[in-house]
Symmetry: C2
Subunit: 393 residues, 2 copies
């Protein structure tokens, strides 16, 4: 059976060149980068080379990049570390309604420590209005956090405009760029952000490797206290092989970005354009143009996303119904609800996210497989039966 992996947002495959770069550090080069002997030095040199490659991908200085174990850790580090470091300035946070769970829940934890927050709403495309951010900022606001691109609906937020507003207000801005980095051009200076989270498994690097960019001079407390790793800002023996892999993946992403983007966009548009021609009552979620090049997300009426996903899996097609971080919770996505999509329709969410090996044949296979699956599932839906009866009256 044909295998079609369309779940980039859950995890990308590891690029073979990335694995090649990692292997020496899983074999002979096993030193701890903090050790002063040659084995340690060798690991340290590799670590700093990886830092430099990653910094190069996002236009940062090497010293502004801090390794973490995931995008979620980077988000926790940014939110908790910056809020707690600026506690003397105030105790209020501003964030959008479409943030990742790791941002939302970090804020909930901060609320237990005396912080309060304002959630900025989004429009039906999931877009944050920069003016709404301006209005949400108070005298007590110590941090704003707005996602750069949504893993669930693909929408790319106007972070440049939001950064301008934050700068004018003297409030630092963090952006969760996990779904964006390596897939669209991301430059921290152009964006004008003070902190930015990323994860290697979104650009053909290994799981277990992420990073936080923290602008020089920005105040932040560690999330993981301890040794002197990462300039004392993130303790713990470094995942050397993973970091080296992330560095290699960053180098490859930088070299391939524009080509990869264009190829993906064409295939993505093929899916976005054709799926609604093949199936009725299927709606694109997120913005049509301002979206990730590898991302096509829909809500399908009278369908449960999970049932759809499992049926497609039986046809060799891997997709998701939203964020992998909550998929097993089987709840309607807070992102879709924030966009005004009703609860029933939000249950029919499906996300197709392309990887660099995706072909036009894969998309066509998908387009052939989907309609009969939907037909079959809808026939089992009492709501659909009722809808059919009513529409025939």
């Amino acid at each position: 059976m044909r295998q079609v992996y369309l779940d980039h947002i859950a995890a990308t495959p590891l690029d073979p060149q990335v694995l090649e770069a990692m292997l020496p550090f899983l074999r002979d080069k096993f030193g701890n980068p903090q050790s002063l002997h040659s084995a340690g030095q060798e690991a340290l040199v590799a670590l700093e080379e990886a830092r430099s490659r990653l910094a190069g991908l996002i236009g940062a200085e090497d010293s502004e990049v801090f390794f973490t174990s995931s995008g979620s850790e980077a988000n926790n580090f940014a939110l908790k570390g910056m809020a707690l470091a600026r506690r003397d300035k105030g105790n209020h946070l501003v964030l959008s309604a479409v943030e990742h769970q790791s941002v939302l829940h970090s804020v909930k934890s901060l609320e237990k420590l005396g912080f309060s927050s304002t959630l900025v709403p989004v429009d039906k495309y999931g877009l944050v209005d920069p003016e709404a951010v301006r209005r949400a900022i108070q005298k007590e606001t110590v941090l704003v956090s707005v996602i750069l691109a949504s893993n669930e609906v693909g929408t790319v937020e106007p972070v440049i405009e939001i950064a301008r507003i934050c700068r004018a207000a003297g409030v630092p801005l963090h952006t969760d760029a996990v779904a964006a980095v390596g897939n669209i051009p991301v430059d921290v200076k152009e964006l004008g952000v003070d902190a930015l989270s990323l994860a290697a498994d979104q650009f053909y690097g290994p799981k277990g490797s992420g990073a936080l960019f923290v602008k020089k001079g920005a105040r932040i407390l560690p999330l993981i206290d301890g040794g002197i790793q990462e300039g004392g800002r993130r303790a713990g023996t470094e995942n050397v092989a993973g970091i080296v892999g992330m560095g290699k993946a960053a180098e490859l992403a930088r070299a391939r970005l524009s080509e990869r983007q264009e190829g993906m966009k064409t295939l993505r548009d093929r899916l976005i354009d054709r799926l609604p021609q093949r199936v009725d009552r299927v709606y694109l979620t997120g913005h049509r143009e301002r979206r990730l090049p590898h991302h096509a997300s829909f809500c399908i009426e009278f369908i449960e996303g999970e049932a759809m996903l499992l049926n497609l899996d039986m046809k060799g097609i891997a997709v998701s119904s939203g964020s992998a971080c909550t998929s097993r919770a089987l709840k309607a996505s807070h992102v879709l609800l924030a966009m005004g999509i009703d609860h029933a329709l939000a249950q029919g969410s499906l996300v197709f996210s392309l990887v660099d090996s995706t072909t036009a044949e894969d998309i066509d296979y998908l387009l052939d497989v989907i309609p009969p699956v939907i037909d079959r599932l809808r026939k089992m839906s009492p709501l659909y039966t009722k809808f059919l009866e009513e529409s025939q009256k």
Copy 2:
């Protein structure tokens, strides 16, 4: 040149069988364990098998094991998560003076949030007196943390006795078992602890993989908030390959533990017995019997540990001068100072920690190399010259 790696406490080499187990998850099996499709299921099954293997090594239930990215993260998770979860009960912590930096600094961060702490002193062997822990526990105490075995001096603490005292006082006990797990028998039920930290790179598993055991029913808040991974207690896409590697390493450690222990002990004792015969004014640090089987640590008078380390490195011998997590800070170890070793002597700290490939020939090579190196370094020391002059009077 002969290469002799004696820096287990910084990091062990990866067992080739461990790498073999990891490779499929760095190649075709790249699914996200939270994805509902087959690629996700495959990763989830591997994750749970690893959890089970790790639980087996420490006598825990599978559901009591939470994956982290390092021992330091596990320590932060335990200290901050348990203290904050029990804040309604009080705001006082008890810990020993010889804890790892990640425990000490977690407590410092908690102090900024309104906690206070009592540091329990140790004797000249680095041993904590259980009675001193009993006296340190107050009505407001919400957590006790005592290291199981010191990475710096090898001493194994009387955690069973301390756990008995904590239980009687109704206060949970966390133990940092990073240096111990996989190297001595560790059973959470026998120990009677409520939480226990470990790291794979201390038993021939990969860097970037650790875990926290949390006893069923013990209250703990996440350190990393977000998705539903690890039962909602530790968010972030799992480092599947790393976790699979840790599981395999745990399985191997369990099978090989007694044999490995005996072999190491013999070689360790060869070094502990013979080094002071070859060189004068060299003192074993830590306890002679209650110590890790792979651990031989010394303070060498009129010597700087770092100079010694670099000179041995030139002879192909990798050792450390203390904890890798602070080695580049070049400060006298808080552990040695807590044991009453004076500042000057503490600077001459050297830790030889054996790995499973260490041979008697390696130890003998070391024993041959060390004396002339020490001679040469001492000749450059004004303190030593002064000492010689005075002793010849």
